[in-house]
């Protein structure tokens, strides 16, 4: 009988063990099933959160109507950015984010203002701006390593009046909140809000 050292024999024995195709498929299916369930739960939580926010806004805006819209957006966006909640999808593809965040009633798009920049997309999650469902995209600057949030939601002129329109050659407005700067503009039918360091 051929002999070998214990380590070699044990390693060979363990490494020759493998799941059958049926077992593998069963475990993969288990993960997919639970993943879908989890996404559905997340969506319900997101929908509930949006509804709650919408109700609270009725009261909130009554008392804060003296705040300008851009300042309110900037404040909300800065607060969300600081929280930096976990991403629901991690990808560098904006198309994949659009396919994953199926509850959005718009398609996330790239802004012409960010083309050729050093920022890389790293993922996204659901959020809301002023009670409207939105996408929160997370960007990372390849040079500085700075993490930024880019918010996108459907632009409704009645809900978001007076914001700068890129197609009319208006420049983004910058507001400041919680130690951050937030650029806000409208482009391609989408309201954008981008956080960045004040020292940019």
């Amino acid at each position: 009988m051929k002999k070998g050292n214990l380590k070699h024999i044990v390693r060979e024995h363990i490494e020759e063990k493998s799941l059958s195709d049926n077992q593998l498929n069963s475990l993969m299916a288990l993960q997919k099933k639970q993943n879908k369930k989890s996404i559905m739960q997340t969506r319900w939580v997101a929908v509930a959160a949006v509804l709650l926010l919408a109700v609270s806004n009725v009261f909130y805006f009554g008392s804060s109507s003296n705040l300008k819209l851009d300042q309110r957006i900037g404040s909300e966006v800065a607060k969300n950015h600081i929280n930096l909640k976990p991403l629901e999808i991690q990808t560098s593809s904006i198309r994949e984010i659009g396919q994953f965040l199926t509850e959005l009633d718009f398609v996330p798009v790239e802004s012409s203002l960010l083309k050729g920049s050093t920022k890389s997309l790293i993922g996204g999650r659901y959020c809301s701006i002023q009670g409207v469902t939105a996408a929160q995209l997370r960007l990372k600057d390849r040079k500085s390593g700075q993490i930024q949030s880019l918010y996108q939601t459907v632009y409704d002129e009645k809900k978001f009046p007076g914001l700068p329109l890129l197609k009319e050659n208006q420049k983004p407005v910058t507001v400041y909140s919680k130690g951050l700067a937030v650029d806000i503009w409208v482009e391609k039918g989408i309201l954008f809000a981008l956080t960045h360091d004040i020292n940019k």
């Binding site: 051929k2 002999k3 050292n5 475990l27």
Partner: protein, 162 residues
């Protein structure tokens, strides 16, 4: 989500603990269900899953009362004793399964860390969250038991040379 390679790796780990293909699969499936249910983001999901598998395995063993918890004396340990001394053991090729079955569950974890992951004694101690002396004592006893058992049964099951 774990891909197929991850699942194979985790299965081998579960097998190395249970020493049974069916039990290994059950253990992996149970641990995977728990991991999914936890719904948390972790930096090293495979390592985290191994922890779940191990804890679940130990819980099962305790439930079945198949683990004997012993106090280890370090006084009879040679000063230069180390996990690498297990390398000296020579065994017949068909002995692996019998050896794994002979070992205590927590000894199998040490064997896995040493043979598959290539850990040193210190790394095994960190991984198992045990003092290095305790791990060394366990290895020392394991080596003695293996030597005694398989030398004695060499005519039937193979042999171990020291």
């Amino acid at each position: 989500m774990f891909d197929k390679d991850d699942l194979q790796l985790l299965y081998r780990y579960a097998y190395s603990l249970t020493c049974d293909e069916h039990d290994g699969y059950d253990l992996l499936q149970t641990a995977l269900e728990k991991f999914i249910k936890l719904d948390i983001e972790v930096n090293q999901p495979v390592a985290y899953m191994k922890k779940i598998i191990y804890n679940r395995f130990i819980d099962d063993c305790r439930h079945k009362k198949i683990i004997q918890f012993e106090n280890f004396e370090e006084s009879d340990l040679p000063a230069d004793f180390d996990v690498q001394t297990l390398e000296d053991l020579l065994v017949n090729e068909n002995m692996a399964e019998k050896i794994l079955q002979f070992l205590e569950p927590d000894e199998r974890e040490i064997i896995y860390c040493w043979a598959i992951e290539g850990f040193s004694t210190s790394e095994i101690a960190i991984k198992l969250d045990k003092p290095k002396g305790t791990v060394l004592s366990k290895i020392y006893r394991m080596r003695k038991r293996l030597s005694k058992q398989f030398s004695k049964d060499s005519n039937m099951t193979g042999e171990i040379e020291l």
